[in-house]
Symmetry: C2
Subunit: 187 residues, 2 copies
DNA sequence: GTCTATATCTAGATAGAC
DNA sequence: GTCTATCTAGATATAGAC
């Protein structure tokens, strides 16, 4: 064969990484396969050696993004006492609002997940429950943990929906301050 | 002329109402003009007597929906002392989660607004500021008002992203309870 | 104002050469 | 594994009949 034994999986990985960023930036449905493939220097026809359909790519992409977002929100350094506070500062930041391509999947593709297949929503549910459980361990407040996740996701949706940088920063800062007041996190 | 003097504006109104529901249900970009027009019993060609382009329809649709959502969240019965609590119960309900077509535009088209034109985001900003101001009047808590809006929008995004009805209800109930604890609303 | 027909473009997906 | 070429279907938008 003319390609190395790892070539295919490497190409698939590059494709997924690129598609994640593009989909979070401009929406998944809105971007065509030719565009996705040319973003990694290939043509549209080569897509189908890696995925049987665009829908299959969506499912894999969302699955991986949800796990990544779960890690982003929940973190894994269980030793650091105020790492939740750090995660929140990063999440509710202007940088995150301005760079959806490298951020959490929920504020940008949440509605597409909601309209997708049961399998995708099943994966979303699993990741969200993990995040909830992780925060509940620290907050000892199940309701508060769900409220916190909702507030974070909603704040990003709102921040990106307004035009002025001033209002965007105000929304994010208000949520950071409010969380500091209503949760015992040392934010 | 063969049509009444009010016929055109009535058709336009019917078209807008139908498109709002369809777009909130399945996404705006995902639905074609033929489908939108046939939903009110007309064919695609007639669309362009009412709007110069699909984008123009989107802008008008979002503008009206944002004002409607602002009313839905903020309300206008300034006399009722706990009408904020009522609005929140309706917003954070299973019915709302199950019926995006008749619900708030932000949890379903928020990302499309975020990716749209500055004019659309300008309108979104205006409506959001109105809602914020309305709630701030009652809560006397500017940060809390933004946090509340974010939490409501985020809760709907999450609730619709999970598969099981059980988890969906848990997320919504947790947010209702948490708001009851952290805001003085009598929820 | 709405229809049918159509122009033009782009989409997802497949076939066969290399 | 990737390419080019192509099929089919759907999209937005326009033209002209009624």
């Amino acid at each position: 064969m003319r390609y190395s034994s790892t070539h295919k999986q490497e190409t698939r990985a590059r494709l997924l990484a690129s598609c994640k960023a593009i989909a979070k930036q401009g929406g998944f449905e809105a971007t065509g396969i030719d565009t996705l493939m040319s973003s990694i220097g290939l043509t549209g026809g080569a897509f189908y050696t890696h995925f049987p359909s665009k829908q299959a790519l969506f499912e894999e992409l969302i699955r991986e993004e949800l796990e990544s977002s779960s890690r982003m929100l929940a973190g894994d350094e269980r030793s650091d006492p105020d790492h939740v506070a750090k995660r929140l500062r990063g999440y509710l930041s202007s940088f995150h609002a301005a760079n959806p391509e490298s951020g959490c999947v929920l504020p940008t593709l949440g509605p597409e997940i909601a309209r997708s297949s049961p399998a995708v929503r099943k994966a979303a549910e699993k990741s969200l429950k993990q995040t909830h459980e992780s925060w509940n361990e620290r907050l000892d407040d199940s309701d508060g943990a769900w409220a916190l996740i909702a507030q974070c996701v909603g704040a990003l949706v709102l921040a990106r929906s307004v035009e002025s940088e001033k209002t965007r920063k105000e929304i994010l800062a208000a949520c950071r301050r409010h969380i500091g007041r209503t949760h015992t996190l040392g934010l």
